[in-house]
């Protein structure tokens, strides 16, 4: 089979050598610093970029189509694979959307556990962002440091749900498990050390000449541009818009905890880096408060709604009616009411929204995943022109895009 190789990709039709001295450079789709499968067609004048065309879809796996062919609970593990760096936040967004659709209230302990998952995931994601961006810019030490902390968090999550990367740790209507024995103590130990660790990274980077050169005043996104492109999360806050869905449209227990939303009005790479660091500290602050909340909660983990949610395992094992319900829910799936819902949550990357259109069937009629990275990739086409080749890497780094989410 090896001889019959007839590769003629599209870009071979492009004239790379042009009369006006413009060079066309193909970047990706398999580039080590593209954070996944991003392909950029860059038009260059010398080293300066005049036009940039991001080309995505190299990780399009058809998740929306899958959702239309799956019962609601079945789709939960698939959401893991969207933003695979912080899986639980995707699970949570989906669970919340379905809960809003069927009008469920989740028990308090489940809320506390979900908050813990969400914030540890935010920490994991930010640490990973720091690691990879630093690696792209050449700071190998920071990469190793940040991964050290991330492994600790992954261990914690593994203690909780058994998986390192793809958690599926949230269910519609609650969480499947209670916290393992020493989870709280371990997490506290981690949080106590975190400020020290963050200080380590900042010592390495904040005044580092190379880091500053590649970050400061590079990739400046203005307020208007960020809003027009539908940016969210750190991308938006670094441009001076104070908008954090956790604060403005609080879900779960975010209205009970006290935290700040760091904002900067510079809009450049460095501002974004600073915000990520500040957000890690805020996450730690939230986690401390949530850890204290755990004690006073009752043992309930799943909402009680026999029409939609299976009864607890003990009931399924002992009571006939619960067993029947469970059987129906597992084989046919729950049937939410007819209607549509759009629910946005603040994932580590930005506004993660789920639009669900239910026609009363066991399968969603249409499920649209609003992933923040999609627009954060789109903005590259407006952002890159005017910059130089080495800036491309640092700009892609600070946009914090994940391709599972961009392409879905």
């Amino acid at each position: 089979m090896q001889q019959a190789n007839r590769l003629r990709p599209f870009f071979e039709n492009i004239t790379f050598d042009r009369a006006d001295n413009e060079l066309i450079l193909n970047f990706g789709p398999q580039h080590p610093s593209a954070h996944g499968q991003l392909r950029l067609m860059l038009h260059l004048q010398q080293e300066q970029i005049t036009k940039a065309y991001p080309d995505i879809g190299y990780l399009h796996r058809g998740m929306e189509k899958m959702a239309e062919n799956m019962i609601y609970n079945e789709f939960m593990p698939t959401t893991d694979r969207m933003d695979y760096i912080a899986s639980s936040s995707n699970n949570y967004g989906f669970a919340l959307a379905v809960e809003k659709l069927i009008g469920l209230e989740v028990p308090r302990r489940a809320k506390v556990i979900r908050m813990m998952l969400l914030e540890t995931n935010r920490l994991m994601s930010h640490l990973f962002w720091l690691a990879t961006t630093a690696l792209d810019i050449g700071a190998m030490t920071v990469f190793l440091f940040a991964f050290r902390e991330r492994e600790y968090l992954m261990d914690l999550i593994e203690d909780y749900c058994g998986a390192r990367l793809t958690h599926a740790a949230v269910r519609i209507g609650g969480v499947p498990l209670d916290l393992p024995d020493n989870f709280i103590a371990d997490l506290r130990k981690f949080l106590d050390k975190l400020p020290e660790n963050i200080k380590d990274y900042e010592d390495l980077l904040d005044t580092n000449r190379i880091w500053l050169m590649r970050m400061e005043n590079v990739g400046v996104i203005s307020k208007e541009m960020a809003q027009s492109w539908g940016c969210s999360g750190v991308m938006l806050r670094a441009s001076g818009v104070e908008w954090d869905i956790r604060k403005e449209e609080p879900y779960e227990l975010y209205d009970e905890v006290d935290f700040n939303v760091p904002v900067s009005d510079k809009g450049d790479n460095y501002a974004r880096y600073k915000l990520y660091m500040a957000e890690m500290r805020e996450s730690a602050k939230i986690l401390y408060q949530v850890l204290d909340m755990y004690e006073g909660t009752g043992p309930e983990l799943m909402a009680h709604a026999p029409q939609y949610i299976s009864a607890p395992k003990i009931d399924i094992m002992t009571q006939n009616y619960s067993l029947m319900q469970h059987f129906v829910l597992v084989t046919q799936g729950m049937r939410p009411p007819v209607g549509e819902v759009y629910v946005a949550t603040e994932s580590p990357k930005g506004e993660l929204g789920y639009y669900i259109n239910s026609q009363g069937g066991a399968y969603p009629y249409r499920l649209k995943l609003r992933a923040p990275s999609f627009w954060h990739t789109g903005i590259l086409s407006d952002l890159l022109p005017g910059h130089y080749i080495p800036d491309v890497v640092s700009i892609i780094g600070t946009t914090n895009i994940v391709f599972g989410e961009v392409d879905r």
Partner: protein
């Protein structure tokens, strides 16, 4: 007799639905119940036809005529302070009424409100682009075209975005099967090796429940390796996991489970 499967909607259906089952509805309330929404609704209604408007799950839904979409979004952006278009996509209702439903999910940060603007177009119609108002619509509209085949007028770069340029069919239409049509299933083989290689490479194995436990031609199980093609229907011998050949490798220390230390403190 084989069960009838409708051709215009090939999505999965539950195997059983109670004949008398009536689906409940998500509650809709009147627009006037929320002062902010009511004011916005009045402002839109003053200039454009509004076919329907209600509040559902805390968000206002406005149904308009497809021809007004640019005007309504422009009004909302410039006068009603809806400064972000968070999402834009379509829903396929071709089987039911021959139409696509297009929704614009708007967000106002100053009012902290979300509004969904919806309109319907038929399959042959196209819709006006709102890319001039919100750059985010640039990619969303391309995605909508890619997935549904909804053509958008006045768009600067109306090309496929997620699927390859030479793709055939629109994947999110209800007529498109989950596992793809014939073009999709042979896409990579046709492209890389040519159509004549189809026979050599063979069709895709799409049955996820297929287990070929006794296939020793192509697979060996870890820890139970046997010679190629051996018959293992009577069971296979155990091969202990080993990190190295028994006789060792020059200059490389052999892993010894006895001498290794288990670190219990994970903070190392």
């Amino acid at each position: 007799m084989r069960a009838y499967t409708p051709k215009d909607d090939v999505q999965k259906k539950p195997y059983y639905t109670d004949r008398y089952w009536v689906a409940p509805q998500v509650a809709k309330s009147d627009v006037s119940e929320d002062a902010v929404f009511a004011a916005d609704f009045e402002a839109i209604k003053a200039k454009f036809d509004v076919l329907d408007a209600y509040i559902q799950v805390g968000q206002m839904v406005i149904v308009i005529n497809a021809a007004d979409n640019f005007g309504v979004i422009e009004l909302m952006k410039n006068e009603l302070a809806y400064n972000q278009l968070s999402e834009l996509s379509a829903i396929d209702w071709l089987a039911q009424e021959g139409k696509f439903e297009i929704f614009y999910q708007m967000l106002s940060m100053s009012k902290r409100k979300r509004v969904r603007v919806k309109c319907k177009i038929s399959e042959k119609e196209s819709i006006q682009s709102v890319e001039k108002l919100f750059r985010s619509a640039d990619w969303s509209e391309r995605e909508m075209y890619d997935m549904f085949g909804v053509v958008v007028n006045n768009h600067p770069f109306m090309k496929r975005i997620l699927m390859p340029d030479d793709w055939e069919g629109f994947p999110l239409r209800k007529t498109y099967p989950l596992q793809g049509d014939e073009f999709a299933q042979w896409y990579e083989v046709d492209k890389l090796f040519g159509k004549e290689a189809r026979e050599i490479i063979g069709p895709e194995i799409r049955d996820s429940a297929r287990v070929d436990r006794y296939d020793t031609e192509r697979f060996a199980r870890l820890g139970h390796e046997v010679p190629r093609g051996a018959d293992i229907s009577q069971g296979e011998p155990d091969t202990p996991l080993c990190y190295q050949e028994n006789e060792g490798v020059f200059m490389i220390e052999k892993f010894d489970a006895e001498k290794s230390v288990v670190i219990s403190d994970r903070d190392r």
